[in-house]
């Protein structure tokens, strides 16, 4: 398709609203820029899909994920936004809603709206009743969903039990909105069972929130040094607070495995290091362009007012398709491969350990701690032949117990996040205690993220973000108000997700062209 045709099809697509057209036109324009800043070998890997640049565009002019220090903003106010520091809850919510609209990311909208309970609790006093608080949160939730309609937008609550966290869970369970995505940061030493149980009740009804292993995340980020907190953004990324991630580039482990002679030795000692080296060329070039050429870190008021620090931006080294890579190299069918045998399980762990060691030791300029962070990438809507991260392929999942036990050993390596979604039968709705026990056990055993899809809920998780089943059905004819629904629809088509057990695949932004096919 010529550029002219591509642009005209966007303009004339009746399923897109005005803003969505503008958004896709800009993505298309950016992808037209020709900026080869890496070797031919690296380009070959991109062209053949061994390495995927996540369609971030050829000339990045904003970081992929921005994690502002909203707490600082609330304390200081903002010159740029001409807003004084808020003094009561209404002002604080209003301040944040305005600020969110000025936080860019790969989606053009914020992917992280902060630890909302922690941010708002200082403004909550006994003069505000529970009903009043719920009303204010409800209005805030509607405002976020209707003005920033992108399911990659992510809010955090916990680990402390407090009135705002409770109100948010109550409102979120009631509204069943796709946006914002939500995570409860859970620490058995800090979080009350009451708060966890409220979250579990919500999950059994709406598949939200995620439950994050707070203790593990805090320990990992503290171990890296220069700790100022972390946040969980988009789907499903753990990143330094007051910073973020410049970029995410991911390796298709299946395609990497296909480049190997077939032996474990060759794959681990030759193929992975070679591909990683070229992947790092691409990561470094993108980071450098963002830092040196397009100038976000020089002109953004978020930097000027110190809500973000350019030195706290990492790069994400992502992998996906572990199951298919392992099965390919072992020469076994999915039903008898990863997730089903100890041999496959242990081989997969050696692959993750090898990659983690490379990520830990490879230097990157202009990045936090001069390195990337390792990320289990949850897949995008065009991934037809590969599973997200370290997930066991759809349709051949073993029992939930075996599924959890298979992925747990990988989780500790993925500092920058992992989302393995466990499909759960809807009978769990009558017995949420069962879900709470599984969650607690999994987190105690080292699972970084606990995410489930309960069969037949309207809200369905697509790797990390949500779509509504009913919206996917409508999308084909009418389009959707919510930007990310198109990816859910596409994932449903390409990956047959809704026909299978209870889970979907995921996605993040990409040019319009792929979506029209």
């Amino acid at each position: 398709m010529s550029y002219q045709q591509a642009l005209r099809q966007i303009v004339n697509d009746s399923r897109l609203n005005t803003q969505q057209k503008a958004r896709y036109l800009s993505l298309q324009a950016e992808s037209m820029l020709d900026c080869p800043r890496w070797s031919e070998g690296a380009q070959e890997l991109l062209d053949s899909g061994v390495v995927c640049d996540m369609f971030e565009g050829n000339a990045p002019f904003k970081p992929r994920y921005v994690m502002p220090d909203y707490e600082k903003a609330l304390k200081k106010g903002s010159d740029y936004l001409e807003l004084e520091a808020p003094e009561d809850l209404d002002e604080a919510i209003n301040f944040l809603l305005i600020l969110f609209n000025h936080v860019p990311s790969v989606t053009g909208m914020p992917v992280f709206v902060g630890r909302l309970d922690k941010l708002l609790m200082p403004f909550v006093n006994d003069g505000i009743s529970d009903d009043q608080l719920k009303k204010k949160i409800k209005l805030m939730w509607q405002m976020i969903d209707r003005t920033l309609p992108d399911a990659f937008l992510h809010a955090n609550i916990g680990p402390e039990d407090n009135r705002v966290a409770r109100a948010i869970l109550s409102v979120d369970g009631e509204l069943e909105q796709v946006v914002p995505n939500l995570t409860l940061r859970y620490d058995p030493e800090i979080t009350s069972d009451g708060l966890l149980n409220q979250a579990i009740e919500n999950i059994s009804k709406t598949n939200k929130p995620h439950i994050a292993n707070e203790a593990l995340n805090v320990a990992d980020f503290k171990a890296l040094g220069d700790y100022q907190g972390y946040g969980i953004a988009s789907c499903y990324n753990c990143l330094p607070l007051a910073g973020g991630a410049h970029t995410l580039v991911r390796m298709n482990l299946l395609k990497a495995a296909q480049q190997s002679e077939g032996s474990e030795q060759d794959f681990l000692e030759r193929v992975i290091p070679e591909i990683s080296e070229k992947m790092y060329e691409i990561i470094q070039a993108r980071v450098n362009y963002l830092v040196n050429d397009s100038g976000f870190y020089k002109e953004s008021f978020l930097v000027r007012e110190r809500f973000i620090d350019p030195n706290r931006f990492t790069a994400m080294f992502g992998v996906f398709g572990m199951a298919e890579a392992v099965n390919h190299l072992l020469g076994v069918e999915a039903e008898k491969g990863y997730g089903h045998t100890i041999e496959a399980k242990e081989f997969a762990i050696r692959i993750t350990e090898k990659l983690a060691a490379i990520v830990e030791s490879t230097k990157l300029e202009n990045c936090w701690h001069s390195r990337a962070l390792f990320h289990s990438q949850s897949g995008i809507s065009i991934d037809a032949a590969t599973s997200a991260g370290c997930r066991i392929p759809y349709g051949v999942e073993p029992s939930t117990l075996e599924h959890i036990l298979t992925v747990i050993p990988h989780h500790r390596h993925f500092t920058a996040g992992v989302s393995d979604i466990f499909p759960i039968d809807e009978t769990i709705k009558n017995n949420p205690q069962a879900l709470a026990t599984i969650c607690k056990g999994a987190i105690a055993q080292g699972l970084r993220m606990f995410t489930v899809n309960v069969a037949n809920n309207d809200l369905v998780r697509v790797t990390g973000y949500m779509v509504r089943r009913s919206d996917i059905k409508k999308h084909k004819e009418e389009g959707s108000r919510i930007n990310s629904t198109v990816f859910g629809a596409e994932a449903a088509e390409n990956c047959g997700i809704l026909d299978r057990k209870s889970r979907v695949i995921s996605n993040e932004f990409q040019p319009w062209v792929a979506m029209g096919e």
Binding site: T400, E402, L405, T427, I428, N431, A436, T437, A442, Q445
Partner: protein
Amino acid sequence: MSFSLGLPWVSNGRTTVSGLISKVIPFSCVDGPGNRFVIFLQGCNFNCKNCHNPQTINFCNHCGDCVEQCPSEALSLNDGKISWNSRQCESCDQCLDICPVNSSPMVEEKTVEELLQQIRVASPFIDGITLSGGEATVQLKFVKAFFTAVKNDSALNHLTCLIDSNGYLPLSAWKSVLPVMDGAMIDLKAMDADLHKWLTGRDNFRVFQTIEYLASVSKLIEVRLLIIPNINDTAEEKMAVKDYLSSLNTNINIKVNAFSNKAVKGEAIDWLSLSEEKKALYLQSINR
């Protein structure tokens, strides 16, 4: 009834007891409170017309009828005994359809220790263990040995040990298992004695005894009612159930399960399934 209690207990002379196990599932949220490891024991002393798992009723008589019909050659007859190769098996369940005695060639004999090993893997993620069936108490010796072993294992004794039962076990036998059992879920198939006998092949006197006894010692977790349209949902039955459950005077959980004509054999195939709406109405009508 065709089956006899000739159970093939295996003992090596020490304390090793094994059970005949038809199935093990590591996670279940429908077999008692929380997440549970469930072991289904083979053999039942009822012969319910509405049985959803008729292959669990009897013990295999090693007739060999299933061997030749197995499409994946997972079954063989050696020295007059059926053996099942689980790796070869493709779980088509054709052998269950063929079996002339409502049994299964896939039942495995497992020792207490073998089962404990499996449970140790699952233990961080579960609230407890449920022994179900078939009718678990038909293998009471195994049940007691197994629960005793769980209670004596410091890594496992936080797990609650429950039995899912038809309630036919005599009181003296319940008393003997009580020290190692945390509770039981009891099926109440019908209030009317004749209807119960027609439905299950046994009368319901002992079932009432069981329910009342377990309630009196606070070990009755749940009473389960499997409701079959036009059979045990009549006005009289409903009234009797309601009165009886009220008389128990405790806060036990009542669970209504809907009969489904899928997976049943014989005349029950022609019975009506209970819809979700009717199930909800039934529950409402017996609400104490």
